[in-house]
Subunit: 394 residues, 2 copies
């Protein structure tokens, strides 16, 4: 069995009254001057931003605001934040939003005390030994960044999207009020659930069959997310089901589903190039790639795909024919993606046929000019990546 570390220090405050605690929590974790970091108009329109700022003010906590974070958050915005924090003497960063805003906040927090260029961390040229404390008020359950050690930033110069992981960046606290997710549109809700399920599946599909409890918990999360999203599609203001999804997004990616198993991440890396080239929603891109990845790699550990079919997708187990059972599981997942409005191939994702040249270009990028592999379940070389992209063209 694989040795593992599990480390999730984030204090989660979950529920309808959770926001009321924001000032008290900022103080508890040492914040005296806060950068309130957010995205676009929705945090303003919903009144959440005003509420949070009002609570900080009532708590006698000084703050400055910086909005304008976009999906696939940009390095330039983070650099703007770093300058602002230094100028204003900010000592605590509070992200109000989803994964993009939290990732941008983490990037700023790395940058403030660092003398060099914050992009160094993402390039692997430096490792952060200190950073400002980050916390969040989550509004979009999907990325899991509210408890994770990861952040992904896009450098507009060269359009390079890179991630950096460091335990220091796990948020000090995460306020989660499911009511704030009632207004998430169906497509974004479905893409979010697809993303969080994939965070679990990237760890679930492993050759390490001996950490049963992790697998059991992963299956419980996957089944529940599947059930909850159907109900939310019918009734966006279903608090109970919104709560399952919101909490599911955190436990899917805080490390719990990876304890004692090797994780894969090939689907994420293959999708990376798709969203880079076509600016599609990350979750939708994952749905477009996964069925082809699954069919391509399933023989590496067929047993896992049989388990997935039976325990997650409710496919009756044909004990005499594991391959058919496994394939029915993948087909059931495709039906699920369609049910919630997600694509199952690239054509459905981008609305046209992808060209051979585009596939070649994505393969080149994903393999870093044919030098790198991706994945663990099956280690994919450039040829494998191209084959999967071709299978996924639709």
């Amino acid at each position: 069995m694989k040795d593992f570390k599990y480390y999730t220090p984030t204090e989660v405050v979950f529920g309808e009254q959770s926001e009321e605690q924001v000032a008290q929590l900022v103080k508890k974790y040492g914040g005296t001057k806060v950068l309130v970091h957010y995205g676009g108009k929705s945090a303003e329109r919903s009144g959440l931003l005003d509420k949070i700022c009002g609570l900080l003010k009532e708590g006698d906590i000084d703050y400055v605001k910086l909005g304008g974070v976009v999906p696939n958050p940009r390095l330039s915005k983070a650099q703007e934040g770093i300058e602002l924090c230094r100028w204003e003497g900010v000592d605590f960063i509070l992200a109000v939003g989803g994964g993009s805003v939290i990732d941008s906040a983490k990037c700023i927090a790395y940058g403030v005390p660092y003398l060099g260029d914050v992009w160094d961390f993402y390039l692997g040229k430096a490792s952060a030994t200190e950073m400002l404390p980050v916390a969040c008020v989550l509004t979009i359950p999907a990325a899991g960044s509210e408890m994770s050690e990861a952040s992904v930033i896009t450098n507009e110069e060269g359009d390079v999207k890179l991630g950096y992981s460091n335990d220091l960046s796990r948020p000090k606290f995460a306020i989660m009020n499911p009511r704030r997710t009632f207004t998430l549109p169906p497509y974004q809700t479905a893409a979010g659930v697809t993303d969080m399920m994939m965070h679990t599946m990237e760890r679930y599909f492993t050759k390490d069959d001996d950490m049963d409890l992790t697998t059991d918990i992963a299956e419980a999360i996957l089944r529940r997310m599947k059930t909850a999203v159907y109900d939310v599609m019918k009734d966006p203001e279903n608090y109970r089901q919104r709560a399952q999804i919101m909490w599911g997004g955190s436990v899917a990616h805080n490390g719990l589903t990876g304890c004692g198993v090797s994780d894969d991440w090939a689907t994420h890396q293959l999708e990376h190039e798709l969203s880079g080239m076509f600016d599609v929603t990350h979750g939708a891109g994952l749905a477009a790639i996964w069925p082809s990845w699954a069919r391509y790699v399933m023989h590496e550990n067929l047993n896992r795909f049989v388990r997935f079919a039976v325990n997650v997708m409710d496919v009756p187990n044909d004990f005499t024919d594991p391959e058919t059972t496994a394939l029915k599981g993948i087909e059931a997942m495709e039906r699920f993606y369609h049910d919630i409005g997600m694509p199952v191939n690239i054509k459905e994702l981008i609305g046209r046929d992808i060209t051979d040249e585009e596939i070649k270009e994505m393969t080149r990028k994903c393999s870093r000019d044919y030098t790198a592999t991706c994945g663990q379940f099956k280690i994919l070389k450039a040829d494998d990546m191209e084959a999967i992209y071709k299978m996924a063209r639709g």
Copy 2:
């Protein structure tokens, strides 16, 4: 849905190589002079104590040792530890052992910087605002103290056993090597699994039916513990199954299984008096009480007991007769307890009939002289407690 907090800052380092990191972890969390706290001879005999001390020495970390912690750890031993730590200038406490040793370590850590009597915290007369950092090398999976905020101490004067909970006391790190549990005798293994399953069940049996994901995860843990303990009974050196149990004990009690639900703890409180009066093993005492508690309270939320029967105990659901299904689940749990050598009533626990006087005395103590209730699923008054003890007499 109930709002909740989830906070588990402990860095878990799990696996066969985990002990090697002890010196590095102590340094990471600021320890320069360590109290190595342990129980009886087993830590010495197994070589674990020497190994840990050797690693600290290699890492140039100064330490003193204090052994002799007994099950149901005593206040006097903790007070001895407090004096020793002050005298030696200890700034970090490393527990090497199971729940009793960790709880004793927490008590010492509260006491060192406190000017008054550390028992004040357990009496509810004071609340700790600082304490020495505590960490552990776990050898007995059961109590869950390695990630929890709780500690239970027995004051020999008056034989009073009290608990104190404070997030400050969550261990900084927990080293868990399943191999160290190979030598745990069957009875202790079974009692440990019973305890950790009960930590989950105390939260699972709730009237809050709306936090589905928590319930799903609880069921996954319960099912896996049930399976793993059978295998370990047959083969005590089964690393894979020992690992499920070791990790299961932590996730059962670190808060995950309580997110968004009201917890009960009546079985624990009723057992408290049993182990107080007869000095029995805590886990065995829980097994002796639970079936009677379950039958007495099941109509408070029959649905939960049906779920438990079907999803945990593999009882076929008789949809026309939920009561029978629920009862069959309780009977299946009794068979499970017997299978692993646990009692299902007080007679089996103590080896003789319990007297009416003894039941009256336990009832008096559990109800704090007929003034207090226990439990949430059904709030138990003194009469209810007495009725459950009588049902459980066997």
